[in-house]
């Protein structure tokens, strides 16, 4: 019996070693592909960075609203964002090549899954980015308008508008991806309703400022009670 046990162990060890030996070239090819892709990606990013700096790319893009997008994208500058995209793009291609060397069927399976969900993922990302930009734009519009109307709760109300739009865009993105299902719907409803209730309370309980402005305040700044407006701005 012990000889049979020894024989079975030898057989299984040989199988494992043979399998591993069979995989080893593929693994080494994968690692080599990743290393090579990283080197190529670094080189391309370096050349791209030199080119964009020569073209003063950051200054040109910064005049087109980059400052609104930057905090949400997490890159300090447009040049840095592009070079990072190029580097990781090349590394990802190297990963696919290495994966094909490891097992040719793996890449086709991965590609099928990726492309199947790529469009949904891209749309969800677009929804998030657009929602973020829209939220910041609307909140700034509300803030400026309310400050010019002398509403003291201007900042609170503008924050409320911002989070309303952010929650809406996030919920739409998750719904598009099919993540969460009814849990996301319920959570969105609760959050959205909560924010609206908070805004309503803020406006209702502290409405004296708004009522003063709309009913009893002079129609022009600087007007005294009961007197004619003292200015013509134009």
């Amino acid at each position: 019996m012990w000889s049979r046990v020894e024989e079975a162990l030898n057989q299984s060890a040989t199988n494992v070693v043979t399998e591993a030996a069979g995989l080893l070239p593929g693994v080494i090819a994968l690692v080599a592909s990743l290393v090579l892709a990283a080197l190529v990606g670094w080189l391309l990013a370096f050349l791209l960075r030199l080119t964009l700096r020569a073209l003063d790319f950051d200054r040109r893009v910064s005049t087109r609203g980059w400052s609104d997008l930057a905090p949400w994208i997490g890159a300090a500058s447009p040049t840095l964002l592009l070079t990072r995209l190029v580097t990781w793009g090349v590394i990802f291609i190297g990963f696919l090549i290495g994966l094909a060397a490891l097992d040719p069927t793996l890449t086709s399976q991965l590609a099928n899954r990726l492309f199947g969900s790529a469009i949904n993922l891209a749309m969800a990302l677009i929804l998030l980015v657009v929602g973020n930009v829209l939220a910041r734009f609307l909140s700034r519009s509300v803030l400026i308008s309310l400050v010019n109307m002398n509403v003291r709760q201007a900042r609170l109300l503008s924050l409320g508008v911002k989070w309303l739009v952010l929650i809406l865009s996030f919920a739409m993105a998750l719904d598009y991806l099919g993540i969460g299902g009814r849990i996301v719907e319920l959570a969105f409803g609760i959050l959205f309703g909560g924010v609206v209730l908070a805004l309503a309370l803020a406006v209702g309980l502290r409405s004296k400022d708004i009522a003063d402005w709309s009913l009893s305040r002079p129609q022009d700044e600087g007007q005294q009670e009961g007197g004619p407006p003292p200015f013509r701005h134009l």
Partner: protein, 410 residues
């Protein structure tokens, strides 16, 4: 279809016009009584003057205008005019208006054009004469109005438009936002010269167009009827509209104003009217509160446009007691210059930028009101003269920031 600026039936009327010296456009003259009053004012101003009166086609009574008294001949031309409420002129409306003026002027051989935007009840023969005489007799190309207004009227003009255009283009002209002006043939044809390459959008500032083309500019004292007080008006929207077009104009004419140094007075025609000097009850505290609220809430916008030194000074100002609330002239000039630069660089949405300037403008108004509240008209004018000189003194700051926006950080 008529190839000109008029529909075919109006073009036929234009073709029948006889020779005239001046084309008078009265866009608000939409009644028969108004037309008669306009005709009487023209006859009283210059009995020898041959004029074509272009008025809205809501009334078509040539007898109200036509007639001869002595050697005066007046002709009427009803047509569809663009809705122009004052300077600056929206570009597309100005293009239509100037095309119409040029077409009529070519037909009748006119030497002068008058745009009398005041309602006819307030139009006087002195106004017509003040706008026509400098062009026909003194060979000026552009006549801008000088209204005798109360010291608290036209505050956007007093705080920004006049001192800024004076510092930029070197002409001391106060009537930039008026509704009455006189033009020569060169001015009418030059603004939309094909070489100009002016695209759609934006507005036309007549003074900058004249300076750009080295045309002669003057002012005329005009006692025009002014609209009633703006009730419930949105000062933020008015500020955004006027300053937005002014800053765009600055960008378009940057090579011109960067070469100009100092300023010179322009010739003024006519007799100055008596400025309204009645005492007005003023409460500056609400405007100071608006400024303080703006400082607390709009820092994230202001610090994209204003340098740290300016923000520190504004912070100090928010703590000043009401009777010592003073916005220094040099600081205000630099704030205006910084917003003009921010408008050019599009650091944020232009509409947001201009509306965010409202609390700063109200701070200037409050400071001005507190300082000159008890002064007479002459003392208030002296105060504004000091403001204009500050704009001129700070102009190198604007030029440096305009040329090197990334490198100049005071």
């Amino acid at each position: 279809m008529s190839p000109g600026p008029f529909p075919s039936e109006t073009q036929a009327q234009v073709d029948r016009l006889e020779a005239a010296d001046v084309v008078v456009v009265v866009p608000r003259c939409g009644t028969v009584e108004g037309l008669r009053a306009t005709a009487e004012a023209i006859r009283a101003a210059a009995p020898d003057l041959r004029a074509v009166v272009v008025h809205p086609n809501t009334v078509d009574d040539a007898d109200a205008v036509r007639g001869s008294t002595g050697t005066t001949t007046l002709q009427a031309l009803p047509c569809r005019l663009p809705a122009v409420s004052g300077l600056p002129l929206p570009t597309e409306d100005a293009r239509i208006l100037f095309d119409q003026l040029a077409a009529v002027g070519r037909q009748v051989g006119a030497k002068s054009y008058v745009f009398a935007g005041a309602v006819p009840e307030g139009m006087s023969s002195a106004t017509i004469q003040a706008l026509v005489h400098p062009v026909i007799d003194a060979q000026f190309d552009l006549v801008l109005p000088s209204y005798a207004r109360h010291k608290f009227d036209g505050l956007i003009n007093r705080s920004v438009v006049y001192p800024l255009t004076r510092a930029l283009f070197g002409k001391r002209v106060t009537g930039q936002l008026g509704i009455d002006f006189g033009l020569s043939t060169r001015m009418v044809s030059g603004v939309f010269d094909r070489r100009n390459g002016r695209g759609p959008g934006g507005s036309i500032w007549l003074l900058t167009e004249a300076v750009e083309r080295n045309l002669q500019v003057c002012e005329a004292h005009v006692s025009a009827f002014l609209p009633p007080f703006e009730t419930g008006g949105d000062v933020s929207a008015a500020l955004a509209r006027v300053l937005g077009s002014l800053f765009e104009d600055m960008e378009r004419h940057a090579p011109t104003w960067q070469r100009v140094r100092g300023s010179q007075p322009v010739r003024i025609f006519g007799e100055p009217g008596a400025a309204a000097d009645e005492s007005r009850a003023v409460d500056a505290s609400t405007m100071v509160e608006s400024f303080q609220l703006g400082f607390r809430n709009l820092q994230e916008i202001w610090n994209r446009v204003l340098p740290p030194a300016t923000l520190v000074e504004l912070g100090r100002l928010t703590r000043a007691p009401l009777d010592r609330f003073r916005l220094p002239d040099a600081l205000w000039a630099r704030i205006v210059f910084d917003f003009a630069l921010g408008h050019r660089l599009r650091s944020i949405s232009r509409d947001h930028l201009l509306r965010a300037m409202t609390p700063l403008y109200l701070a200037w108004v409050a400071s001005f009101v507190i300082e000159v509240g008890e002064d007479d008209h002459a003392a208030a004018q002296n105060r504004l003269e000091r403001l204009c000189l500050s704009y001129e003194t700070e102009k190198p700051y604007l030029i440096a920031r305009w040329r090197w926006p990334d490198r100049f950080n005071p």
